[in-house]
């Protein structure tokens, strides 16, 4: 069969991917630079195409709680937002993590703090990878670097969400969301029937039938010892995820003296910078974490045994660099270079930053 190729925005690709995945529900609220997600859904009218529910909520808070409600019924539910709206979703995400529900969330990051700007940024790393809301929990975080990955990560994300009963975040930015690229589109999958949902999610609130006990979806347990036990169970789950689900791309690392560490848009910029540096004879490699939680700490720790230093490139004042430092554990110098507030660094300034780093500046 011939490949189906389309020219799409990242924001459109993710919506099309959700419909084709056979997702059951999307709840959204407009915010720049991700409003095309809900606009594309509304235009496509997926209730006609697959029976998928799409609803514009009254706020990001309501949208994430709608995801809670649908996810608790065993549905493949998703929402999307951009940084200020993603902050509003932290309450719901904490409850979703606490109730161990699967769902998919997209954050098309823009510069902050506050209302900040509508331009692209990577300044939500801490919020995304360290929990974000209250309590001890983690999201599984996927960082796409292309429109194709925006598309592909929907299936990977939902599969991980259901495998671990854990919210999954696609951490994108205003560039990946807005730019258009060629995307290879997968076949339309049929949505699960209610019987299949019940079989896959026996814990879901699908109506208490005579053959089982009632299902309760809650994050509340007032007995401290049980709540502690539950927290320990979550830690175990996160450790399993750390063990099994790390995704990372290492480019030109085999012979590298120095490596960039960068994800998403920054990793694409680094690809160009790396080429420029290699043409000048510098042996420079790139580590591109695809999962930000779990973080590819072991891979970076391994490289720390032989490379001379790590330079992280982020569109932030330095957030992921802390995870690189933890992985390197003082063995090699680790530095950060970034532009913020919606400014995107040029490959040339990244080249200069690496040259300065290699000189020990």
């Amino acid at each position: 069969m011939e490949k189906e190729l389309k020219l799409m925005k990242g924001n459109e690709a993710i919506a099309e991917a959700a419909i084709r995945y056979g997702a059951d529900a999307y709840f959204g609220y407009p915010i720049t630079p991700q409003s095309e997600v809900i606009e594309y859904f509304m235009e496509q009218n997926p209730i006609e195409r697959t029976g998928m529910v799409v609803l514009q909520a009254e706020s990001e808070v309501a949208a994430i709680n709608m995801v809670y409600g649908a996810a608790a019924c065993g549905m493949a539910a998703m929402t999307s937002s951009s940084s200020p709206g993603f902050s509003l979703k932290q309450e719901g995400l904490s409850y979703i993590a606490g109730a161990e529900l699967p769902c998919l969330v997209l954050n098309v990051v823009r510069g902050g703090p506050g209302l900040g700007t509508i331009q692209p940024s990577q300044s939500d790393y801490f919020q995304s990878t360290k929990g974000g809301g209250h309590g001890d929990y983690r999201l599984i975080v996927l960082a796409p670097a292309s429109v194709q990955e925006m598309y592909d990560f929907v299936q990977i994300g939902f599969d991980l969400a259901f495998k671990y009963r854990n919210p999954v975040l696609i951490l994108s930015d205003g560039i990946i969301g807005q730019m258009m690229e060629k995307v290879e589109i997968g076949p339309q999958r049929v949505r699960r029937t209610m019987d299949e949902v019940i079989k896959q999610c026996p814990w879901a609130t699908t109506g208490k039938t005579a053959n089982r006990e009632r299902n309760i979806i809650t994050s509340l347990d007032l007995v401290a010892s049980r709540q502690e036990e539950f927290n320990r169970k979550l830690v175990k789950k996160y450790d399993t995820i750390r063990e099994k689900e790390v995704r990372c791309e290492c480019i030109n690392c085999d012979d590298a003296d120095y490596v960039f560490v960068a994800y998403g848009t920054s990793s694409r910029l680094c690809m160009k910078s790396m080429d420029l540096l290699r043409k000048e004879g510098y042996k420079v490699g790139l580590v591109r974490p695809i999962t930000l939680f779990p973080y590819p700490s072991k891979i970076i720790a391994g490289l720390a045994e032989r490379v001379k230093g790590f330079l992280t490139i982020e569109m932030s004042t330095g957030q992921m660099v802390e995870d690189v430092m933890l992985a390197v554990n003082g063995k090699r110098p680790v530095k950060h270079y970034g532009r913020v507030g919606g400014v995107v660094p040029t490959p040339e300034e990244i080249v200069d930053a690496m040259k300065n780093f290699m000189k020990g500046e």
Binding site: N65, A70, C73, G207, K208, R214
Partner: protein, 274 residues
Amino acid sequence: MAELTINDIIKEENLVYKKTKVMTDNVMHYCPGCGHGTTHRLVAEVIEELGIQDKTIGVTPVGCSVLMYNYLDIDMQEAAHGRAPAIATAIKRVMPDKFVFTYQGDGDLAAIGTAETIHSCNRGENITIIFVNNGIYGMTGGQMAPTTLSGMKAVTCPRGRDVNTMGYPLHITELIAQLPNVRFVTRQSVHTPANVRKAKAAIRRAFENQKDGKGGLSFVEIVSNCNSNWKMTAVDANKWMEENTFKEYPLGDIKIDWEIQEGKISLRNRKLDY
């Protein structure tokens, strides 16, 4: 004929009333005399009578009734504070053949969850909202609620609610009754047998409105007590409620099948001598 003993009467074949099987045997955590218990039971009885135990999904709030899922033998979800109508919206949208209800207090529904309440009502989600209004935050220890009566004391208005700085008691029920997609709005109480019967009929109607295909949202307010935080006995609290709360929140049907009942909603002007 020999005189009947109590044991002659208390026999299975003579049973005329007992707790519904849709209630679990867990002892409820509510204070003695709290209207939550009665309201829970009415919801459970309606579910049993309609035969919809396997088709009902309930959403519990944050507040005293947060643990309602321990007492009803149905599938339930526990919501974040105020978000129950958003959650119920999603449940109904993804499973339209199910009966979906939220159970919320006045702080949950009329303060932190105002947006979710108004918008689920405005969309006319085909769900049932049970709104228990006791004019106070019970679980957190008796703070002022949006529904607290003017002049009424609470721990965050120890000199009484001053309407000029704290606002008037919020009539959210009358507000949402004016939304076109809202089908049924009523205000009831559960403190006497007659009121319990009326409240149950209202809850039943609110659930039946989910099965005739006509859609619309049904909203049942139960004006209730909080004797612990009102610092009264249960009996005194019910009496106080009749004498004070009912004046602010008169009982009765406000809207039936999309028709606002005559004289039920009037503009409320600010009175300086309130």
